[in-house]
């Protein structure tokens, strides 16, 4: 089954991104790369032996950015969409993501006197520079979409 991940950035010269697919604690797929282009598509495929729930984790841990004057909004990467099995689309119309903030990142925001409540905006497509977007992916896929 194919995974296609469409990433975009605006004001960053580059971003270091990791893509992991996990089943329970087991790593099924791992990719780690520097994103230079403003838009990029990363693809990979798996052969599921059993139908189960997986976690797709897209993360950044760019600690150097703490030392810069980059505003947090300037430094994010956007996951425009994820296409599963060449068919199912996860995008801004149906957020399946959960934002996981690194505690250090939260502390950093407090130091910067950021006022918004992070916990109120966990389901989005924005990947900050120290944290991850986690997607629960169930196979077969359609069950995820059927309500």
């Amino acid at each position: 089954m194919n995974f296609q991940i469409f990433l975009r950035k605006n004001n960053l010269p580059s971003a270091i991104i990791a893509i992991e697919l996990l089943k329970d604690e087991h790593m099924i797929h791992y990719d780690h790369f520097s994103m230079i282009e403003n838009e990029i598509k990363k693809t990979f495929a798996i052969e599921p032996s059993v139908y189960d729930q997986y976690t797709l984790k897209i993360s950044r841990h760019e600690l150097d950015l703490y030392q810069t004057d980059k505003m947090i909004h300037d430094s994010h990467v956007i996951v425009d969409k994820i296409v599963l099995d060449d068919f199912w689309t996860i995008d801004d119309k149906n957020h399946w993501s959960k934002t996981i903030y690194d505690p250090e990142y939260v502390a950093h925001l407090k130091d910067k006197e950021v006022t918004w409540e992070l916990s109120k905006d966990l389901h989005n497509n924005i990947l900050y520079f120290n944290g991850s977007l986690d997607y629960k992916i169930s196979i077969p896929i359609r069950g995820m979409f059927f309500k």
Binding site: P48, Y51, F87, P140, R142, F145
Partner: protein, 214 residues
């Protein structure tokens, strides 16, 4: 093996009742949903069964399709006006759910997206294996419809099941409220695009009219 791809609410039970005589073991189970179970014995299943009439087959995973396709002679897809299908499907659920939400959820899970569905299946398998029929043709003349299907599938035509086809058309249509209108309009645009895409890919005119949605 013959696999019914879908759609649900397109007389699949009626058609199954009229084709199941070809099963040597007298199969009586329609919705096996076998292709949604863990793919461990797919080939065995395909070798020992002649029909699979699960109405969610249209959405099976690509890896499953690749595995079973060598054992499948034909796929059957019956298409129905998406607005009619929505109303019929909605009758199975809580019809107090706003029509716009319900329609949009069917679009999100691709059930009404005939264009995307046929594009995917034409890539996954030999398009000549996919037999496409219109639900409206079945309503117009179910004997002719059944004769046409059995002829194309090269299977004997049994006497038609005396089960009446439950047409279940748009009787439960509810006039949308004002706040639903915008989202329904969005749905309408998406559905129109999907119909045009389907017709372009298959060269089959659907004669669908989605104006009833609004």
């Amino acid at each position: 093996m013959i696999v019914y791809l879908g759609m649900p609410r397109c007389a699949s039970t009626w058609l199954y009742d009229n084709l199941k005589h070809i099963e040597p073991n007298g199969a009586t189970v329609k919705e096996t949903h076998h292709f949604y179970k863990s793919p461990v014995d797919l080939k065995d299943y395909c070798k020992t069964n002649i029909l699979d009439f699960s109405t969610n087959n249209w959405s099976m995973d690509g890896t499953v399709v690749k595995e079973i396709d060598p054992l499948v002679s034909n796929y059957i897809l019956i298409i129905r006006d998406p607005v009619e299908l929505t109303m019929s499907y909605r009758s199975l659920f809580d019809i107090s759910q706003p029509l716009d939400e319900f329609t949009y959820s069917l679009i999100l899970n691709k059930m009404l997206c005939y264009g995307d569905i046929i594009e995917r299946w034409y890539k996954l398998v030999d398009p000549n294996k996919i037999l496409i029929y219109r639900y409206s043709d079945l309503l117009a003349n179910n004997e002719e419809f059944l004769a046409s299907i059995t002829k194309q599938l090269h299977i004997p035509l049994a006497s038609m099941s005396d089960k009446m086809l439950k047409t279940n058309r748009t009787n439960n249509y509810v006039q949308p409220m004002d706040q639903e209108t915008i989202k329904l309009l969005q749905c309408k645009i998406i559905l129109q695009q999907q119909i045009e895409k389907f017709e372009k890919i298959t060269n089959i005119p659907t004669n669908f009219s989605i104006n009833n949605l609004l």
